[in-house]
Each structure stands twice: as structure tokens, then as C-alpha cells.
Point group: C2
Amino acid sequence: MSDTKENIIGLADELIRKRGFNAFSYNDIAVPLAVRNAAIHYYFPAKSDLGEAVIEVELRRVEEYRRGSERLTGEEQLKLLVGVFRRNNKLRMICLMGSLTPDYDTFEVPMRRKVKEMCLSILDWVAESLEKARGEGKLQFEGEAGDRALLVISTLLSSLLLSRVLGTNIFERMLDQLLQDMRADWRVKDIKL
Amino acid sequence: MSDTKENIIGLADELIRKRGFNAFSYNDIAVPLAVRNAAIHYYFPAKSDLGEAVIEVELRRVEEYRRGSERLTGEEQLKLLVGVFRRNNKLRMICLMGSLTPDYDTFEVPMRRKVKEMCLSILDWVAESLEKARGEGKLQFEGEAGDRALLVISTLLSSLLLSRVLGTNIFERMLDQLLQDMRADWRVKDIKL
DNA sequence: GTCTATATTCCGATAGAC
DNA sequence: GTCTATCGGAATATAGAC
């Protein structure tokens, strides 16, 4: 993939997380990259093509995390997950789920499908990690791992939203509560950056 | 307050919940109300004025809920809260926190302040209800009610986001998990509409 | 208080040269 | 693959008549 194309996707990803899909323009990408908006249209004829590409990359990122952490314990996988969100929090960036799901009904159908696929993929990974950690005795929760994954993602997603408005410390307050609920013996500050 | 003004605010509220603040236009309000966009500008010179008015109404709504449920038990207050969200869920509408916090950094400062005020007000109400319900022995949780309120709001907010993408039943799955965690002896389906 | 009319700006998108 | 140039449309917003 060409550098320009990669840079466009990378910057679009950042803009989606910081300002939302409907709030950024081709110009917001063209100016920092010092190209004309026609160059962006060359790679992504319509804005939704760019949106889909950003999600596609995220899907691959999730797959990589998944394959790259296969040999880790469930607990380590969860620390990895929480670490990713904490890093985003420090950068005032929300996650793609938190940014794209509120605007879901304004998207064209193909992009909606991609958003849904992304949500399912992330949830699946989290559920797997939770189940694994429970099997190791490092986590306790009742019910199915898929249901618990919904609550975990919910907390991660919302903590990024609320942190920006109410202050960064909200993230740790929320995550530590969640970890306590699941009887984890570690807290956010225990994760090495 | 004039009918037109009220109708504008009401429709704007709906559009914010369904499509997001940055995705709706004055025309989306003018057409259904059969007025010209100049009429909307008469009441709300700038779009942010309209946004602030919508939040203002929500703030008063929260205050009303609060005063109107003072004599209810904490448990009944929570059922009321969950019921409000469930009704929104059925209408495919997300809450204002879920819609406005992702776009927070695109707002002008006065509107950001209002968003923050709204978040704090809702959290405060939830914390109060949780504390009350805990005192009644109808709910169990560790730590401060304020921290727990963050998790409760997080689940309500996210369930609306995810329900639209993954299916309406997500709402009940998530809320029932949350209630189970707090050892509540009721579930979503027990709430009368 | 609502209208017509319009200013202004910005957006996504495309044609065609290089 | 990137550019210049431009189109068509939509957005927010305002002036001034009624």
C-alpha cells in the first residue's frame, strides 16, 4: 500500500476518534498531508470508502492483537486490552465503536455492515479473553462470557467518552470498579505502559 | 414559550439522538415543521444556541424526574431510570450523553460547559438513587455511589449504542447483567411500561 | 414572528492536464 | 499518482419586507 494511502487512512482514523466521521472533511486530511483533496478522492472516491477503509484497518488490528496474544494468559490479554484504551484516553481519542455507533444511522448500508462486523469482532475477542481468564481462576463472573464482554466493552467505551468531558481520571475510576466487580487482583495502574 | 420554539427544540432533540448534532441541518427541522430556516434562526441565531437549548431542556427534565421521584424508594427511582432508557431504545434513540460526548471537541466552549453540566447532573441523580437503594437493602455494591453511578450510566449509554447496531435485545442482556451484579431482585422485563 | 431572498462558505466529487 | 480547476449542492447565517 502506498505511503499516501496509508497516511490518509491513519489521519482519517485519528479524525474520526477526535471529531467524528461527519465532522471531518477531506480538507482536514489534505492540508496536514500537503496534498490536494483530489488525491484523496483518487484512493477513496467517496467519503464512505474512506470510512470503510479505516474500519478495515481496525479489523486487521484486532486480528493481529488476537493472533499476537494467543499464547498469553487471559489475564494478560485483558491487560493488553485495557492498556490500548488507556493509551487512547491519554491522547483524548475515543474508540471507533464509541465514535461510529452514535452516527450509525447516517451511514450507507455497506459502511454500517463494516461497523457491525467490527463490533462483533472486538466483542468476540474480549469474550474469549474473559472466558480464558475465568478458566485460569484469575477472574470471576457469572453468566456467559459474551454477556460479560458487553459490559467490559461498555465500560471501556464510555470511560473514554466521559473522561474527555469530566476529566482523565474517570477512566481509572471506572476501570478499577469493573476489575473489582470481576474480582481481578490487579488495577489499571498495575499495567506497564 | 411559543409553540414553534418548543417544537423546534423537540425536533432538534430527536435529531441529535437519531443522527447526531453535526449531522442534522436547519432544513431537517424546517421541512417537518413547515417553517423556513429563517424562523429557526429567529429563535436560535446560531446552531450552538439550539444545541444549548436542547441540553437546557434535558437539564430541567432531569430536575423534574428528581423532584417528582423524591418520595419513591431508591429501587423505584432506578426502575424509572431504566424505564426511560428502555423507551428510548425501542425508538432507536440514544441518550444525549451518548450522542453529544463523542462530538464534544467539535463544540464551542459554552456548549461544552452545558454538556458537562448535564453529565454531572445525571450522574448525581443516579448516585443518589443508588445510595438510597443500597440503604434500603435492595441493592449491593462496594465503594462510593458516585463511582457505581459511572458504571450504571456507562451501561445504559452503551446499551443504546450497541442495540442499534447489534439488535434491540442487547439492551436487556446488558441491563440484566448489571442488575445481577448489584444483586437486584428484579430484571428489565419486570418494569411496567 | 415568519417570510423571501440572498450572502458566504464549505463540502464532496469529477474532468482533464501533467 | 497528483495536480489545477471547477461543478453542484448544501450548510449556516443575515437583511429586509410583511
